[in-house]
Symmetry: C2
Subunit: 110 residues, 2 copies
DNA sequence: AATATTGTTCGTAATTTTGCGAACAACAAA
DNA sequence: TTTGTTGTTCGCAAAATTACGAACAATATT
């Protein structure tokens, strides 16, 4: 058998880029930090923390939701948001694996 | 002394967002993975890996360089690129800290 | 039925990002 | 001096992002 094949990534590059893109805005990082510091909260609480229009907040939340990092639930008349823990762990693992690939290089079979 | 103050982040939110933004494109993730799998390589090697114009590759490299994740060095007539290890570690730590904030919540002083 | 509360969606404008070919710069080789 | 090699920069077009106010939807209250 020939030797020294490339190590397979333990993360999906497309998915990692999607997570990263969602995190690539200061306001969205702020929202994520805010949500990570509590179990859950309402839209209004998030809006109150930020110096921007509610329409803009709503848009950022939508992007974070579509990236899978948070989830929202209607609790009439409010909307409750929280971290999506399953995907949070997934993202955590992906980023960790990605940064660990440095120096790993190749593996040799046999 | 009053109690239960919020935990200070062990990462800079602005900086984290900047790292994330740079990583927020599939092509740039691909470049980073490629570079992370070796000590260094030339522009041409990177271009060869990708199905896009060299002008576009150059632009992506510029963004990664400005974000501090990679560095370039002229080795006439070629340009040698590699991971910026110092900032790579910094980014690795920032992302790890960020994802670890979940569940940490608050700390109580006595 | 009219009002109030809470967020989302729509329409719009300004800016940024992405991608390309062409032109260019720096240097080595013929 | 001309030619070739390697990448960057320029100028442009298309698309996506960011931000806002206004309008709207859903529900509860008066």
């Amino acid at each position: 058998m020939s030797c020294c094949k490339k190590n397979e990534n333990s993360f999906n590059e497309e998915q990692l880029a999607r997570f990263a893109k969602a995190m690539g805005h200061p306001t969205r990082i702020e929202i994520l930090c805010f949500l990570a510091s509590m179990d859950s909260c309402y839209f209004g609480d998030i809006h109150q923390e930020l110096p921007i229009a509610k329409a803009t907040v709503s848009q950022h939340l939508k992007e974070l939701k579509e990236a899978g990092l948070i989830q929202g639930e209607i609790e009439t008349p409010k909307v409750k948001y929280c971290i999506n823990r399953e995907n949070w762990e997934k993202a955590k693992t992906y980023f960790a694996s990605f940064f660990d690939t440095l120096n790993e290089k190749t593996i040799c079979c046999k």
